[in-house]
């Protein structure tokens, strides 16, 4: 857990107005992004973000372990999302199988190769390219619910495996399995976009 979270949690608990400003500034955007990708509708996401912040401030005394601030906040957000969720906004629920996510291999022995796009033209930071953010966002939205929930917490918000497990009420093994498949599916989606030159990188 980053030290910054513990620090801001303790300052929030002590009623520090500067901590309030910092927290709203950083978490409103995170919560909006999470809810938008979880619920699917912008207006729902704005509401979830604001209702979550309100719940956080009105129940801060329930935060027993300040170092768990982020997981605690996202647990509240998850519940708010579940209450809002409209069915069938996104992909239907189904299992992602490892076989579907493996690239095709060709050739034998030393000549063995996989069918893969040229990834070298992609920047290291998605912030540099709005079309990459769009493709990743879209790829996440297309994941079945249970996988989307995990990748949002683990990779977008960078919670630990244990924190994500506690937010989602599942075991750490379930988090690991779903995360791996979600990552593979997203990688496959990016690979397909690169191959179809949707990213404008020939």
């Amino acid at each position: 857990m980053p030290e910054g979270d513990l620090n801001i949690a303790e300052r929030l608990l002590s009623g520090d107005p500067a901590a309030f400003e910092e927290f709203v500034e950083s978490y409103r955007r995170k919560l909006f992004q999470y809810s938008f990708l979880m619920c699917g509708l912008r207006e729902d996401a704005e509401e979830v973000a604001q209702d979550t912040l309100l719940k956080v401030f009105s129940s801060l005394e329930q935060l027993r372990e300040p170092q768990n601030l982020k997981a605690w906040v996202f647990r509240i957000a998850r519940n708010e999302c579940l209450m809002k969720r409209r069915k069938s906004v996104f992909a239907p629920e189904h299992e992602l199988s490892l076989d579907e996510l493996r690239p095709q291999a060709t050739g034998e022995g030393d000549a063995r190769a996989i069918e893969i796009a040229d990834w070298s033209g992609l920047p290291d930071d998605a912030a540099e390219r709005s079309e990459i953010r769009r493709i990743i966002g879209q790829g996440i939205k297309e994941l079945p619910d249970t996988y989307r929930a995990v990748i949002l917490l683990r990779d977008v918000e960078e919670l630990t495996t244990e924190e994500a497990a506690s937010v989602l009420d599942v075991s750490t093994d379930v988090v690991k399995t779903r995360l791996h498949r979600a990552r593979l599916a997203l990688r496959q989606k990016l690979d397909q976009s690169l191959r179809s030159a949707a990213l404008g990188i020939a």
């Binding site: 929030l12 608990l13 002590s14 009623g15 309030f20 709203v24 409103r28 955007r29 909006f32 992004q33 938008f36 912008r42 704005e46 604001q50 912040l53 309100l54 401030f57 009105s58 129940s59 801060l60 005394e61 490892l98 493996r102 690239p103 291999a105 063995r112 190769a113 996989i114 893969i116 796009a117 990834w119 992609l122 290291d124 930071d125 998605a126 912030a127 709005s130 990459i132 953010r133 769009r134 990743i136 966002g137 996440i140 990748i151 990779d155 977008v156 960078e158 495996t161 690991k176 995360l179 791996h180 990552r183 593979l184 997203l186 990688r187 990016l190 690979d191």
Partner: protein, 84 residues
């Protein structure tokens, strides 16, 4: 001895350093000698990296003043309840 299928199944745990040291070493050894796995791992690493801290495609407008005041009241009320 790990083959491509074993490695493929455990790549996230490998990248997240969640595997026992011996398994990690076996995977490393396999990847070092397997060009397709190298390519695949690089693409997966990049895809994961691009997902970190993903920001909304359309930026969120500044917080409306009315909402901010509502949140601030909830924050101040909470602090008072806790005797701060």
């Amino acid at each position: 001895m790990q083959d491509c299928t074993d490695v493929f199944a455990r790549l996230s745990e490998y990248l997240d350093r969640e595997l026992p040291g011996a398994t990690c070493e076996e995977i490393e050894k396999h990847i070092a000698a397997c060009a397709p796995c190298v390519q695949f791992v690089e693409s997966l690493k990049k895809s994961i990296h691009l997902t970190h801290g993903l920001t909304p495609e359309d930026p969120l407008p500044p917080i409306p003043e009315e909402l901010k005041q509502k949140l601030r009241r909830a924050f101040d009320d909470g602090a008072r309840r806790r005797g701060k």
